[in-house]
Symmetry: C2
Subunit: 411 residues, 2 copies
């Protein structure tokens, strides 16, 4: 893409009321626009990152057998009353709205109820199970304060998968697959080393739920990490009894701030019972469906990645989620740069081509702020030295590479 | 995809309160699920159609120079007050909600105001223009009645593009490009022959706006078509004066019911003035930005396509938007069918493989209801005759094709 066609501009300053580092950098670099606290438009650069994260999540969900659908934001009162979650006293972050006829509707913050309700149309026999459906969409949470940028939005993208199994055994088999898929997602987006599967409080149907927590000073949770075993315990269940149960040695655990990037949860019959979501087993007897839910915050992940990968000059994107693979800067060598741009594009390499008529210093500063992993500079000086100057965003060193060796260098 | 993994099932009956043909067929075939009147979840088959339509729209918008972003659903009161559109007396289909602190928010039904407001961050010089941004997302309209299925939803997918030009001349050049892009979209999704560019009422800045109206008995609009010129006039501007202005002969015009599938609109300074959206021209003087807007109802298009392409047995998808290219039915020949399925998938052909353990009649009926363009049946009888039975959904005739000739037959 030609940068001259990208309408966004970098900014020296983020809005004054923006206190989170992730949103400050993302706003300054032109990835998001603040509409209000906790509500951000996703600008073209940001949308490329969101789509890359979403596609990684999608691929891993598909591997587990997940099937994608798109649920709705507007939800009926009666669906949420079945589980007593309609009341604002029970769910403290509802957004509600009203139809013309006065009936209240909810803006979805999650979809266990609508999914259980819908599945009654499709599940009747043991032959219909198991089913794994997921949804990548915006949901709404009426946060009293929203000061963490895109790490805690009032409107945000997430992926939610809901599993419907015949029984706890079948559920547990999927649950283990989901753990692996989640690990793959966090590895692939570049957060693997800092992300720990964390034991957290369960529900009526399981002792624990599992959170995926990424260590970050910006985190709102406290976890206790066993770095050898690569697992952690959330403060909410950090008791001697739990440590014993998990065979963890208190002496070895390290306390860290972390941010929850995903969670998986056994729901058991909590939703299938109130909705009467049943199937006939092989003997013809009615059984309740055993459910689970599995969330990943897609826009939150973008924020966490920025919190972890940045320096004084800007963002440093991991390759898998960077908006472009290469940032190509022309310093007064538009003809040569144009040729290189076309060559790279032909090879399917995603290039942001800074073809703007601005001074070199501005191009360098913008490139560092935007944070694309490879920077290629085409200048009179580089051409004299025999090619282009290639530098990685996270390295101080650059090298001159002949034009016809660029592609092999990038690989 | 294996149909055994698709959790949706066809149904004999749509919900009793569903009066529109498009939603009846889409619900019965398992493309959508009704959450309430005017609000439908998009099931896996439907999501494939929506994604295909969205990608066609995306490609055509990109050709015009459009850049994609993702706006927000939650909107601030003060942004809408600038143009006096906040009041429910002015906009009669608002959904509103509230933050914890009591301030009211809107659920977006369109984005002229937020876009004009946001562009103040990015437009300051004539060098920043023109800009074309678009957004494919769900919007919300509080319809008093919602009886047209997915053709008039309370929550629906659309594409909206907003153009920002230096002046009317530059705007008009883009406007003509948009007309071509729109024609391409409706041609590509299969509606070209029945869709007419229709003159409708303009605003303060142009005599007319242009709607794209698809002839259908389910339409809510009345248009007068000149079939030779392939244009039409909306009843709202159907006067002798307008006909004269457009050089149309009343005698030649045919009155038809039609449904609006897209519209393009010159906005002039209607939004840039209240937001103070200005740029410095080459002389250093302040000028207001000239705006336009360009909408296409993505989920509505799915509905219109179903209204137009169906028969007594079900939907008949045009190839470009069909959820799959081929419906492969195994009638007790799973091993042979499996091989064919793998071969087609390897060639990148999208196949729905009916590997379910149900009787032949059910497979045939489901296949007709779902409406995929090509049906391939693998049965003992077809193999005896030397291959598989291939039939187009919209044809009565089938033929036997040798297994190694299937791919060339499909092309």
């Amino acid at each position: 893409m030609r940068q001259s066609k990208l309408f966004t501009k970098t900014r020296k300053e983020a809005p004054k009321d923006e206190v989170s580092l992730n949103a400050q950098l993302l706003i300054r670099a032109g990835f998001i626009n603040k509409e209000m606290a906790g509500v951000y438009s996703i600008l073209p650069l940001g949308l490329r990152v969101i789509n890359k994260i979403a596609n990684i999540v999608r691929e891993e969900m598909n591997v587990t057998g997940g099937v994608e659908l798109q649920s709705t934001a507007l939800q009926k009162q009666e669906v949420w009353e079945k589980t007593n979650r309609w009341s604002d006293a029970v769910v403290d972050n509802w957004f509600k709205t009203k139809l013309k006829n006065g009936s209240e509707l909810a803006l979805a913050f999650t979809h266990e109820e609508p999914m259980a309700n819908m599945m009654k149309n499709f599940i009747s026999s043991h032959k219909d199970l198991p089913v794994y459906v997921y949804d990548i969409r915006t949901v709404f949470r009426n946060e009293a304060r929203a000061k963490s940028g895109i790490m805690r939005g009032r409107e945000f993208f997430w992926k939610a998968l809901y599993s419907f199994s015949k029984n706890e055994k079948e559920h547990n088999e999927y649950y283990e697959k989901a753990k692996i898929a989640y690990k793959n997602v966090f590895d692939r987006v570049g957060l693997g080393e800092k992300t720990f599967m964390t034991f957290a409080s369960g529900g009526s149907f399981s002792k624990y739920s599992h959170e995926f927590q990424t260590v970050s000073e910006a985190g709102e949770d406290i976890i206790y990490i066993d770095e050898e075993k690569k697992i952690a315990v959330n403060r909410e269940v950090y008791t001697d009894e739990v440590l014993k149960d998990l065979d963890l040695n208190k002496e070895k655990l390290v306390e860290k701030k972390a941010i929850e990037v995903g969670n998986i949860f056994s729901l058991g019959y909590k939703f299938s019972e109130p909705f009467g979501l049943k199937y006939k087993d092989e003997k013809g007897e009615d059984q309740f469906v055993f459910m689970g839910c599995y969330g990943i915050g897609i826009s939150r992940l973008m924020g966490v990645i920025v919190e972890l990968f940045n320096d004084s000059r800007g963002i440093v994107w991991p390759e898998a989620v960077s908006p472009f693979a290469v940032h190509l800067l022309s310093l007064g060598q538009d003809e040569e740069a144009e040729k290189i741009y076309n060559q790279l594009e032909e090879k399917g390499i995603e290039v942001l081509f800074d073809d703007r008529d601005v001074r070199a210093g501005e191009k360098f500063a913008d490139s560092d702020l935007i944070g694309i992993p490879w920077r290629i500079v085409v200048s009179g000086k580089s051409l004299e030295k025999g090619g282009v100057e290639i530098k990685r965003r996270n390295s101080q060193e650059s090298e001159i590479v002949a034009v016809d060796e660029i592609i092999s260098k990038l690989r």
